[in-house]
Symmetry: C2
Subunit: 504 residues, 2 copies
């Protein structure tokens, strides 16, 4: 009869194999998006599929289930938030979710995701939502089946949200987001009505690619992304991927006529990367060494992108460097003008291009629509109309077509339902954490202005990165800030920043 | 009772899994050498080791052995050189070799290779051959054990050579190489005595990196390397690796003060790459879709590097482009001067920097020494002295120290014994194939001068690449040229090219 410690060691070794396989898979995917020759795609897909099969086998190995079952009865499981307790609790959770899904549904979903994305590419190109409806219908139906297989207490959406934001509930997210919307809508309206506007054209002057790359690398390094343990490459869609304990790769793309895209994109991905780099290597591949949730992950990217990167203090430090790097582009532009330009707030159609304030309204629309789609209150065929209506109501604008309306995001075509709210949760978590860090560290602005970012990063390392999954996202927020998640810190942050700029 | 066709299909599927796993491993290795962050090495090694284990399991699966055993008795095996016959013959060969090796020896070799290479790096740095002797002794001893486990008829060296040059025999290689040396030594002496010398300094003027890269890409593309199915990157040691049927990657490194290194290096690796790209995709992962031997592989790289790339006709086509690309570097240099410079022949210490003629003498020295080491006629502790003696005798020069003498190559430290002769065999095969292609295609020089390289590549595709392993290297030479391997074509090639240059 093995001791609990021996069982835990078995689980650790097993999890290490899963980690090896899944990081190998991520490496193949990274390569596919960065350097794979044009004709190499098909074979690469075979390699990835084969590896996914091996990984899935490992994750659902009956032996693993038995070890976890025995461990769950052992004293090691007693303290839920200890490292061993977290291993047992979270891995058993994952194991049960994985094994509760019928193999036929897994395969049908995989197929539907591929077909859905292909159909989406075509429908978006031809602005033909009707052609996409059968695929959307299929994806929603399959996710509904998945939710039923997993089970849920309150809302069917809970079962899907749980994949991205473990233990979070729809009702709680709805509560916070509706409070957020109630205060955000008037703020956005006040800004729209303000006669003060930034000269956003500053940011579409010529910013040569080489300079953008050098400056982005400089800033990412300065704020604390460790390039001995990561790198920056170019891809069409930017991302951050973890390929091992000391190998985190971020990507961006450069548009010589649009400064903010790559620069804030790199800060964003570096924020994700610094979270990965801050996880405890000793628990690598196990829940105590893994990120909490997509929302918490997004809180780290948004913190560095917006709370740090779009702050006045940040530019007090970096603006002279930017001016030098991009001579003569910025020679006639004051810090104040530049700072206002990177904080331009105005309702827009495309989520990924939205500013810090209106972004959340885009998410709220998707969150509401996907709940209605899942419960059946909204028929997929009516979703494009509902989309336009909500954009009119929440943002005061209407997409001229579905390609830039409901067809703009890949998520639903890939059957990712329950994912969108994690973007808004990320902003909310970021605001609440940032307010606390600012209080704990005695004024971050003056540190940023002096080029000091280590205190904030160390604070994040200790408070958020190191605990891994020992606490859920909502527990983490409560532990760190002493309060449950609220919309108030984000609204305070936006009002404090935007009021002086727009003279509100 | 499955039919032979069903058994063959089982083997094909099994081999496909091996191919997926081994190309995934190669992708990880490629990434390690190109883009892996500094601190990522340790985890990468774990990933690669884990994958090797999975691959080895697949390659030695008893089920595979049973299928192959049954197939060997079936009518499909009757025609040895048919595609199915080749699958059965060569995979059974591989299976038996793999399973004949005791697991303990496999592991000891793996460990010794790592330790040997670490010791070599240090010994080379400190010019301390004595410190390296125990590792060399160990490696030779382990390879001797391996050879005994495999078995051999004539010479213990056969058992090792067979890993790189299947079915080739030491006696045959010795016969050809000694004939080669007998004619090469006087040729090299005549050249050394000639008052005509190229201005080799032309090649160490300034050749900016960006220009070198653009020019090498231009030439590699022009001769036929398909960049939709491959790419070129930078690594410290250049190589070519096959990551899938449509994904062949080559690498180089640029020295702005040394033109030939990168340029001929890229042609060399592109030659390897065009071989990979010319293999039959329908037999991917199986012997009929696999390269014949390292010697044949090297014949392709050396053909494009030397027989094509160092020909006068090649430069008639490319030299104006080079002049334009490297203005003003080559403005005052005639085609004739440049052509002579890239064909500079003079005895030198370092194999990888040796010219087309003297290169083979470096190999002959290693081939003779490693046979003597393996039989015990030469004690490892005496090898550095024997090395110096042979360099004096064969090349007329003596290394000032062991770092640039016996310690210059990684091979023996990595227990690669029997590998060196494949380099010289590659030159010999290349010469014999090239002479035949020239006759078959009616004068290649005029085609090169007109920038036409497709006829030669098509000839190579048909004659050498497409057959895969259906014939051994020596059968292939006999089939294509109607004669067994001989030193004469290489000597003819060198005399024809070098006589006018050096006024011999």
């Amino acid at each position: 009869m093995p001791t609990p410690e021996q069982l835990l060691e078995n689980v650790r070794r097993h999890a290490h194999e899963i980690d090896l396989l899944s990081t190998i898979g991520s490496t193949l995917e990274w390569d596919e998006r960065t350097y794979l020759p044009k004709s190499g795609g098909e074979f690469r897909a075979e390699q990835i599929t084969y590896l996914s099969g091996l990984t899935h086998q490992k994750r659902t190995a009956p032996q693993l289930g038995e070890w976890l079952g025995e461990l769950a009865e052992s004293p090691l499981a007693a303290d839920l938030h200890s490292d061993p307790g977290t291993v047992i609790r979270m891995m058993q959770r994952d194991y049960e979710k994985q094994t509760r899904l019928p193999q036929s549904l897994v395969e049908e979903l995989a197929r539907a995701q591929v077909l859905g994305q292909q159909a989406w590419v075509e429908s978006r190109k031809t602005n033909d939502f009707a052609a996409f409806v059968p695929f959307l219908t299929k994806n929603i139906d399959l996710r509904r089946q998945q939710a039923e297989a997993f089970g849920y207490e309150d809302h069917i959406y809970d079962a899907l949200l749980d994949d991205y934001e473990p233990n979070e509930r729809t009702a709680n997210v709805a509560r916070v987001l509706s409070a957020l919307r109630a205060e955000l809508a008037p703020l956005v309206a006040e800004i729209a009505a303000s006669p003060q506007k930034p000269d956003a054209g500053l940011l579409t002057r010529l910013y040569p690619k080489a300079g953008q790359e050098a400056f982005a690398l400089h800033a990412a390094k300065k704020v604390g992304f460790d390039f001995d343990r990561g790198r920056l490459d170019v891809t069409h869609h930017p991302f951050c991927t973890d390929l091992g304990p000391h190998d985190c790769r971020i990507t961006t793309r450069y548009d010589e006529r649009h400064f903010p895209g790559a620069f804030f994109g790199v800060l964003h991905e570096a924020g994700h990367g610094m979270y990965e780099q801050g996880l405890r290597a000793a628990w690598r591949g196990l829940p105590p060494g893994n990120f909490v949730s997509l929302g918490i992950h997004e809180s780290q990217s948004r913190m560095w992108e917006n709370f740090v990167g779009r702050s006045r203090a940040f530019w007090e430090h970096f603006y002279p460097v930017a001016q030098g790097m991009f001579l003569p582009t910025l020679a006639d532009v004051s810090l104040e003008e530049f700072y206002f330009a990177v904080n331009d707030v105005r309702p827009s159609l495309i989520r990924v291009e939205a500013d810090e304030a209106t972004y959340n309204l885009h998410i709220i629309i998707r969150f509401e629509l996907e709940q209605a789609l899942l419960t059946g209150d909204l028929a997929p065929g009516d979703a494009a109309g509902a989309w336009r209506e909500k954009y009119r109501e929440y943002l005061g604008i209407e997409p001229p077509d579905d390609a830039d309306g409901i067809l703009q995001d890949v998520h639903w075509s890939a059957a990712l339902i329950g994912y969108f709210p994690t973007y808004a949760l990320g902003n909310l978590y970021a605001a609440q954490f940032y307010e606390q860090a600012d209080a704990d560290l005695g004024g971050l602005a003056s540190q940023f202005a002096a080029g000091e970012f280590a205190p904030l990063l160390t604070w994040l390392n200790e408070k958020i990165h190191a605990p891994g999954q020992c606490y859920s996202a909502s527990e983490l927020v409560q532990n760190i800030t002493g309060k449950p998640l609220s919309h108030e810190p984000l609204i305070r942050h936006l009002r404090n920043k935007l009021s002086p700029l727009y003279g509100l």
